[in-house]
C-alpha cells in the first residue's frame, strides 16, 4: 500500500498539479537550462541531453549542494532505478537496471576507477566536493567503453573554474556519529591557464546497529582526497589538460570479538590529455591515464596480539589512447579511438602476478538523416590473450514524433572481462578447500595429482579439457526503448523499457575432490540471467523557485536456470525442522538483493528574495531478499525477505553576505534502521546508520 501511494505521488502528482494551477511563464530560463544540460558520456562528444537517443540522467552540482550530500553513494541512491548495495565483504556498489555493481563502469572525467578487490567498486570512497555534474548512461555501452560497461556508465565530471583570478571555497560539514567532512577548493584562472586544487577530509566514528555483538557495523575511519588540475589553452585550437588524484583511507578493522586489526587503501590516478582542432572537420585527442590502487589489511588475535591473518591487493592500470573526430557535415560525424590497456595485479592467494595487455579500437557514426531523426551506429573491438576477445556493436535512434513527443531506442552488446580472481586464483581455504582460477586449472590439477592432494583421475569431475579454451567474458545484449513527452516546456515526462539478457555468467563449481575430504573449485561460464523493467521519470518546474521531480522503476531480475527449475517442478522449500514442499512457478522471487519497486520523490524550493533554499527528498524500496532461508538456494516467496522501507531527507541552506552559506539538514528523518529484533536476526541493511542531523558552512572567496 505504501508503495502505491508513493507511486501516485511520484509519477502523477506533477500532472494533477498541472490542471489545478496556472503555470508561470518561464519559458526562457527553462529553455536555457535545458540547452545548458550537455552530456559527454553517452557519445564521447558534447551532446545536448534532450537530443540523445540513449537513457541518460544528469545530477547537477546545484542538486549536490542543496541536498548537502558529501559522498557519491548518498546522492546516487536518490536517483531513479539506482541503489547502492553493500556486500558481506564490505564496499558499497551501485545497482543499475537490476545489474550488480561489477557491471557498471565508473569514470572520473572519462577515465575508469580501479580497485574492485571483491568485484564491488566502493562508491563511498568518492567525495562529491569538486564535482560539476554526474552523468549516468543506462544500458550496455561497451561499444564505446569496453569491459564493465555492461549495465551502464557513471561518469563524474569534476569542476573547472571559468572566472579569472583566484577563487575558492571552504566547506565543513558536521553530523551525527561524529561525521566530519571538510572540503577546500582553490582555483586560479588567468586567460589561457586554469589551475585547480581540491582537498577533502572525511571521517566518522562509525556506528553499531546490532547491540547483541561487541562489533561495530561500521568501524571508525578517516580518509583524504587530493586532486590537482591544470588546463592550458596553448593556442585557440590546442588544449592541454593534466589531473592527478590521490586517495588515502585508514580504518579500524574489527570483524569479531577475538580479532582486531586495521585496513588501509591508497589510490592514485594521473590523467593527461591534449586536444587539437585541426580545422572545422578534424580534431584529435591524445590521452594518457595511469592509476594504482593498493589495499591491505591485517588482523591480530586480541588475546595475545599475534597475527591472525593479513592480505593485500595491488592493481595497476595504464592506458594510452588516441581519439579523433571527423565532422562530415552538419548532419553527420565520426568519432574513433585506438588504445591499449595494460593491467597488472599482485595480491594474496594468486598463482602469479598477472599482467594483461589488451589493445582496443572503436568507431562511432552519429548522423541525422532527417531533421527529426538521429541515428548512432558504433562498435568496439577489445583484443585479449587470456580470455576471448570481444566485438561490441551498438545501434541507437531518436525520432521526434511530434513537437512534444520523441521516441528513442537502442540495442547494444556489453561485456565484463573475467576478473583476475576468476583467472588466476590459487587459494587454499582455511577449511581445506582449494579455489583455482580458470587459467591455472590445467597446471595446478596435475600438480595436485602428483603431490597426492588429489587421489586419482577418478576424483576429477569436470574434464580438464573443458579448460583448454579461453574463458568467455560475461556478456549481455541490452535493449532500451523509451518515450519523452514535454506537454509544456516546464514539464518533462519520460518512460523507458529495458531488458538485459546476460549469459556466460561466471560462477565457481566443484571440479575435483581432495584427499582431505574437501573440494577443488574453479570458475566457468555457467549461468544465464535477465533483468527487465520499466522506468518512469518526471520533473516539473512549477515556477522559478519550485521544482518537483519523481521517479519509479519496476524491475524483474531472474536466473534463467532457476526459472526453468521452478517451471519443471524441481524447486522445493522447507522451513527449519519441517518437511519439504514443492514450489510453483510463480513462487520464484528472483535474484538476491533486487527490489521489484523503487521510487523517489523530490521537492526543491528556492527563495531568491530571502536567499534560502530548501528541499525534501524521499526514496522507497520494496521488499527484497539477501539470503535463502528455506534451504533451496533460491529466493522464493516463502523466504524471509527484508521489508520494504522509505527514507526521507530534508535540507535547508541560507546565504549570508553573498559568500557565506549555512546549511542544516536531516538525513533519514524517521530514523529507519535494520536493527535485529532477536538473537537469530541479522542486520541486512548495514549502510543505513539511522537518523543523521548535520550542519554545514560553506565560504566562497
Amino acid at each position: 500500500m505504501r508503495f502505491k501511494s508513493i507511486f501516485i505521488i511520484a509519477v502523477l502528482f506533477p500532472l494533477l498539479c498541472l490542471s489545478q494551477q496556472q503555470v508561470e511563464k518561464t519559458m526562457d530560463t527553462v529553455l536555457t537550462q535545458q540547452l545548458n544540460e550537455v552530456v559527454v558520456t553517452a557519445t564521447r562528444t558534447i551532446r545536448q541531453l534532450s537530443s540523445l537517443p540513449l537513457p541518460v540522467q544528469i545530477i547537477a552540482k546545484k542538486e549536490l549542494k542543496e541536498t548537502g550530500s558529501t559522498r557519491l553513494d548518498a546522492i546516487l541512491n536518490e536517483q531513479t532505478g539506482l541503489i547502492t548495495v553493500q556486500n558481506f565483504i564490505g564496499g558499497e556498489g551501485i545497482q543499475m537496471q537490476g545489474l550488480e555493481s561489477e557491471y557498471t563502469l565508473v569514470l572520473i572525467d572519462g577515465v575508469p576507477l580501479i580497485g574492485r578487490s571483491a568485484g564491488t567498486l566502493d562508491l563511498s570512497r568518492l567525495s562529491v566536493g569538486n564535482i560539476k555534474q554526474i552523468e549516468i548512461v543506462k544500458g550496455a555501452s561497451s561499444s564505446l567503453y569496453g569491459s564493465e560497461a555492461l549495465g551502464g556508465v557513471i561518469n563524474i565530471i569534476t569542476d573547472k573554474s571559468n572566472r579569472n583570478g583566484i577563487h575558492g571555497n571552504l566547506m565543513h560539514r558536521f553530523g551525527t556519529f561524529n561525521e566530519q567532512e571538510t572540503n577546500i577548493n582553490l582555483d586560479y584562472k588567468k586567460e589561457r591557464i586554469t589551475l585547480g586544487a581540491f582537498i577533502n577530509r572525511s571521517s566518522s566514528n562509525g556506528y553499531d546497529l546490532n547491540n547483541a555483538t561487541n562489533v561495530n557495523t561500521l568501524d571508525p575511519y578517516f580518509n583524504y582526497t587530493f586532486n590537482t588540475k591544470l588546463s592550458y589553452d596553448i593556442t585557440e585550437n590546442t588544449n592541454l589538460f593534466a589531473s592527478t588524484r590521490y586517495f588515502l583511507q585508514d580504518s579500524d578493522y574489527i570483524p569479531t570479538d577475538t580479532e582486531a586489526g586495521e585496513s588501509e587503501v591508497r589510490e592514485w590516478n594521473a590523467h593527461l590529455k591534449a586536444n587539437h582542432k585541426y580545422n572545422e572537420k578534424w580534431s584529435s585527442y591524445f590521452e594518457f591515464y595511469a592509476s594504482r590502487y593498493f589495499a591491505k589489511d591485517f588482523l591480530n588475535n586480541v588475546e595475545d596480539n599475534t597475527l591472525f591473518s593479513e592480505s593485500f591487493y595491488k592493481e595497476v592500470l595504464i592506458r594510452p589512447e588516441i581519439r579523433a573526430t571527423y565532422k562530415v557535415n552538419n548532419k553527420s560525424s565520426f568519432i574513433g579511438g585506438l588504445g591499449l590497456d595494460y593491467e597488472a595485479l599482485n595480491r594474496a592467494d594468486f598463482s602469479t602476478t598477472p599482467k594483461l595487455t589488451s589493445p582496443f579500437m572503436y568507431l562511432q557514426y552519429d548522423t541525422n538523416p532527417k531533421e527529426d531523426l538521429n541515428i548512432i551506429l558504433g562498435a568496439r573491438f577489445d583484443g585479449h590473450n587470456e580470455y576471448n576477445s570481444q566485438f561490441s556493436p551498438k545501434v541507437a535512434f531518436r525520432y521526434q514524433i511530434f513537437d512534444k513527443l520523441a521516441a528513442k531506442g537502442s540495442v547494444g552488446y556489453g561485456f565484463k572481462a573475467p576478473d583476475f580472481r576468476q583467472l588466476y586464483f590459487d587459494l587454499q581455504g582455511i577449511a581445506g578447500y582449494t579455489i583455482l582460477g580458470y587459467n591455472v586449472v590445467n597446471t595446478r590439477i596435475p600438480e595436485m595429482l602428483d603431490s597426492g592432494e588429489i587421489g586419482s583421475e577418478n576424483d576429477i569431475f569436470v574434464p580438464l579439457s573443458n579448460f583448454n579454451d579461453k574463458l568467455n567474458p560475461e556478456n549481455s545484449i541490452s535493449y532500451n526503448f523509451g518515450l519523452t513527452y514535454n506537454p509544456i516546456s516546464e514539464l518533462k515526462l519520460e518512460v523507458n523499457y529495458f531488458r538485459n539478457d546476460i549469459k556466460d555468467l561466471i560462477d565457481n563449481q566443484l571440479i575435483a575432490n581432495k584427499t582431505n575430504g574437501s573440494g577443488v573449485y574453479s570458475y566457468q561460464n555457467i549461468k544465464k540471467a535477465f533483468t527487465q523493467g520499466i522506468e518512469f521519470n518526471s520533473s516539473w518546474r512549477i515556477s522559478n523557485s519550485l521544482k518537483i521531480a519523481g521517479g519509479y522503476q519496476f524491475l524483474l531480475a531472474k536466473d534463467k536456470d532457476a526459472v526453468e527449475s521452478f517451471k519443471n517442478g524441481g524447486a522445493f522449500a522447507s522451513f527449519p525442522g519441517q518437511s519439504a514442499f514443492q514450489l510453483k512457478e510463480s513462487d520464484y522471487f528472483g535474484l538476491f538483493n533486487r527490489s521489484k519497486h523503487m521510487a523517489n520523490f523530490k521537492v526543491f524550493y528556492s527563495n531568491t528574495q530571502n536567499k534560502f533554499n530548501t528541499n525534501i527528498r524521499g526514496t522507497y524500496r520494496s521488499k527484497y531478499g539477501v539470503l535463502d532461508t528455506n534451504n533451496n538456494t533460491y529466493l522464493d516467496k516463502y523466504d524471509d525477505l527484508v521489508d520494504a522501507y522509505t527514507m526521507w531527507n530534508w535540507a535547508i541552506n541560507k546565504t549570508f553576505k553573498e559568500n557565506y552559506e549555512l546549511g542544516i539538514g536531516v538525513d533519514n528523518i524517521f530514523d529507519f534502521t535494520d536493527e535485529p529484533t532477536s538473537n537469530n536476526d541479522f542486520t541486512f541493511i548495514n549502510n543505513i546508520p539511522g537518523r543523521i542531523f548535520f550542519t554545514k558552512l560553506n565560504i566562497q572567496f
Binding site: T515, G577, A580, N631
Partner: protein, 209 residues
C-alpha cells in the same frame, strides 16, 4: 460395436479386481512410517581455532532400519552418521579415520522430490560408497556468513537400499538438537539429526505405497 465395448469393460473390471486381490495378499508386511529425533552424530577434528584443518575422526552412529533404532553392531546396520558425513553399509571406505568396515551390500542415491512425491525407487541411480567419496554427501547446504547454518537442502531425499536389499527413503529435517524452528549456528547444538523415514520391509519391493 456394443459387444466390443462390453467386452472391454468386462476385461477392465476383471483386471482391476484381480489387482485388488493382490493387495490383500497377507504375505506382505506393512510399510513402516516413522521418525527419529536427535540422532547424535558427534565427530572429532574438523577445524581448530586457528582455522587449520585437523583430520576428522570418531565413531559413526549407526542406524538399522529393521529395528528402527541406532546400533553398535558391526554388521547389522544400514547407514551411519558422523558430523555431516553419512555413509552406507555397502561399498568401500574413502579412507577417513574410524570409518567402520562395510559388511553389507547397501546402496543409495539422493533423490529429488517431497516425501509423499517420491513413490518408488529408481534402481538405476543406486550407487555404493567408494574411494571417491560418499554417495550421500550432498544432502545439505552450508549458508556461509552471516548465519553459517547447515540445513538439509529442500527436496533432497536419501533413497536407500539396505544391507539386505530392502528399501527406505529418508527426509532429513534438521542438523540441530531438538530441530528448532529458528536454528542458530552459534547457540544450538549441532550434529543432532532429526529425520522422517519410510521403510519398505518387503525384500525387493520398490514402492513405498
Amino acid at each position: 460395436m456394443k459387444t466390443v465395448k462390453l467386452i472391454t469393460l468386462l476385461a477392465l473390471f476383471i483386471s482391476i479386481s484381480s489387482c485388488s486381490n493382490d493387495n490383500d495378499d497377507p504375505q506382505l508386511l506393512q510399510i513402516e512410517i516413522d521418525s527419529v529425533l536427535n540422532l547424535h552424530a558427534p565427530q572429532e577434528g574438523g577445524i581448530d581455532q586457528m582455522g587449520n584443518p585437523i583430520p576428522i575422526s570418531g565413531e559413526f552412529t549407526k542406524f538399522d532400519f529393521s529395528t528402527g533404532a541406532t546400533t553398535t553392531s558391526s554388521t547389522e546396520w544400514d547407514i551411519a552418521f558422523r558430523g555431516t558425513s553419512i555413509i552406507i553399509n555397502g561399498g568401500v571406505s574413502s579412507g577417513t579415520t574410524d570409518e567402520p568396515e562395510r559388511t553389507g551390500n547397501a546402496a543409495a542415491y539422493i533423490g529429488t522430490g517431497t516425501m509423499s512425491g517420491v513413490k518408488a525407487v529408481n534402481t538405476s541411480y543406486l550407487e555404493q560408497d567408494s574411494v571417491n567419496g560418499y554417495v550421500l554427501s550432498n544432502w545439505y547446504t552450508y549458508a556461509g556468513p552471516p548465519t553459517h547454518l547447515i540445513s538439509p537442502t529442500a527436496g533432497k531425499l536419501l533413497i536407500i537400499k539396505t544391507r539386505d536389499a530392502k528399501y527406505a527413503k529418508i527426509e532429513i529435517l534438521s542438523y540441530y538438537k531438538d530441530a528448532p524452528e529458528n536454528p542458530d549456528a552459534y547457540s544450538d547444538e549441532e550434529r543432532y539429526y532429526t529425520f522422517n523415514y519410510v521403510y519398505q520391509p518387503n525384500q525387493g519391493e520398490l514402492t513405498f505405497e
